[in-house]
């Protein structure tokens, strides 16, 4: 996966403190369900500044098959 997902809106989010085995070193981290402008929805990671419901986000990159989003400036 390399194509950009574009922008979207945060439908819901959480900061994960108690992580699964593979992600213990990265906790705490924020994930969100993003409703994309293109009509799609997916669960992705948030990079940088924390987001809340209703915030606009932009797809920043793919890392290991996971979409990372950043709060839109």
């Amino acid at each position: 996966m390399s194509e950009s997902l574009g922008g979207g809106v945060v439908y819901t989010e959480t900061v994960v403190h108690s992580a699964p085995e593979a992600l213990v070193a990265e906790a705490p981290y924020q994930i969100a369900i993003v409703w994309l402008d293109n009509g799609g929805r997916l669960t992705g990671r948030i990079a940088g500044e924390a987001v809340k419901i209703g915030d606009r986000v932009e797809h920043a990159e793919w890392r290991g098959g996971v979409a990372f989003f950043r709060k839109a400036s």
Partner: protein, 386 residues
């Protein structure tokens, strides 16, 4: 279709049960159940096992005959059902259909999970395999995280508060403290619940059910045969199993569960009852928000009002609709594969008037709701005195 009854019940204690393995737990609950019904192992015509992740937690597969033979049940169909946290609810539903259809006259349904032999991050990972591994789980979601996202959205849409979530934990711990078989028999205060260690915001450890070992069993028979059993039969008035998308991000809305509403509607219709006629319930409080959503989806409170309804005490032991008089998954414990059948055992105890200090007065009609994953499987059962 024949009328079907629960002719016997049996449970182990729930908790971190060192020294008890998956087979001994399941066998203990099964034997107690047969003894409770006054039925011998040789009379059991089929064995339905609910178990979520025995192969992951303890490495053992082929669990149904492994357990059945330990109890002396051999030569008959013995099959494991897996539907995440609704595994034994699903086993129960299918056993019900077989007895109702006249295929069998005595089916033992046992649920079991042995979870505490693994460290917490591994348990978290195994539980997460009930979600969408290629999507939400790869992105870092855990089960607490999925329900945290449900809670965030419910708070956003309906104004549900942290205090209302905490009220569910306080209530379930208060009931669980009265249950001798419960995992965590301690009362907690609202202040303690609010100050809990964060797991996935806004949920703290006090919003999350327990990682437990345990087993539970029920024996199903046609009502007329169950009347001859050693204990008072409990009549199954309505039961339904439904399904939906596994991934939370594929659902139309996450502040209600289509599978729960549909299972509730089907079970109410089959029983010829309304939500108002249900006197008490065991609901799947894997997380505090899950009980609030279930209270709404099953029609005990209006949509969005589950939080205030719970905080007002309506679902407490002395409230208008006692919910989780056993202590629920929060305090009684949540050995996931055992939970669906354990809920039915707890309803039966109330209906028989054997619930001790947590006995409710209006105890004739009870409802159990067993949820798998973040709402991809649901089993709702309505039972009453026979």
């Amino acid at each position: 279709m024949r009328q079907v009854a629960i002719a016997g019940i049996g449970k182990t204690r729930f908790g971190a049960l060192e020294g008890a393995d998956i087979r001994s737990l399941a066998a203990e609950a099964s034997r107690k159940c047969l003894e409770n019904a006054g039925v011998s192992a040789s009379q059991v015509e089929a064995f339905y096992l609910g178990n979520f992740a025995g192969p992951c937690f303890v490495g053992q597969n082929h669990l149904a005959p492994y357990i059945a033979s330990e109890v002396g049940i051999v030569g008959v169909p013995a099959t494991r059902f897996e539907a995440a946290c609704a595994s034994s609810g699903a086993a129960f539903f299918h056993a019900y259909t077989a007895v109702a259809a006249g295929i069998y006259d005595a089916v033992l349904v046992t649920g079991v999970e042995k979870m505490t032999s693994q460290p917490t991050p591994k348990v978290t990972e195994i539980l997460a395999s009930a979600g969408d591994l290629g999507g939400e789980i790869r992105a870092g979601a855990t089960f607490p995280a999925l329900f945290a996202m449900i809670a965030r959205r419910h708070m956003h849409e309906f104004g549900t508060t942290r205090e209302q979530l905490a009220a569910v934990a306080v209530k379930n711990h208060a009931s669980g403290a009265l249950n001798p078989d419960a995992h965590l028999r301690k009362k907690v205060t609202i202040e303690q619940a609010l100050a809990g260690k964060p797991v996935a915001d806004p949920l703290t450890v006090y919003d999350c059910s327990l990682v437990s070992d345990g087993a539970a069993a029920v024996l199903l028979m046609p009502l007329e045969r169950a009347r001859d059993a050693a204990s008072k039969p409990v009549l199954i008035r309505g039961v339904a199993q439904t399904s939906d998308q596994v991934a939370l991000d594929r659902k139309q809305s996450i502040t209600w569960f289509p599978a729960v509403r549909a299972a509730g509607e089907k079970a109410y219709k089959m029983a010829g009852m309304t939500p108002a006629e249900v006197e008490f319930a065991e609901l799947h409080d894997c997380f505090t928000i899950a009980e609030i959503v279930a209270v709404e989806d099953l029609g005990f409170a209006k949509k969005g009002e589950g939080g205030p309804y719970s905080a007002a005490g309506c679902t407490s032991l002395t409230g208008e609709k006692p919910v989780n008089t056993s202590g629920g998954l929060k305090s009684k414990g949540h050995p996931v594969g055992a939970t669906g059948v354990a809920q039915l055992c707890d309803l039966a105890l109330q209906i028989r008037g054997e619930a001790g200090e947590r006995q409710v007065k209006r105890n004739n009609v009870g409802l159990a709701q067993n949820l798998g994953g973040s709402g991809a499987t649901c089993v709702v059962t309505i039972v009453s005195g026979a």
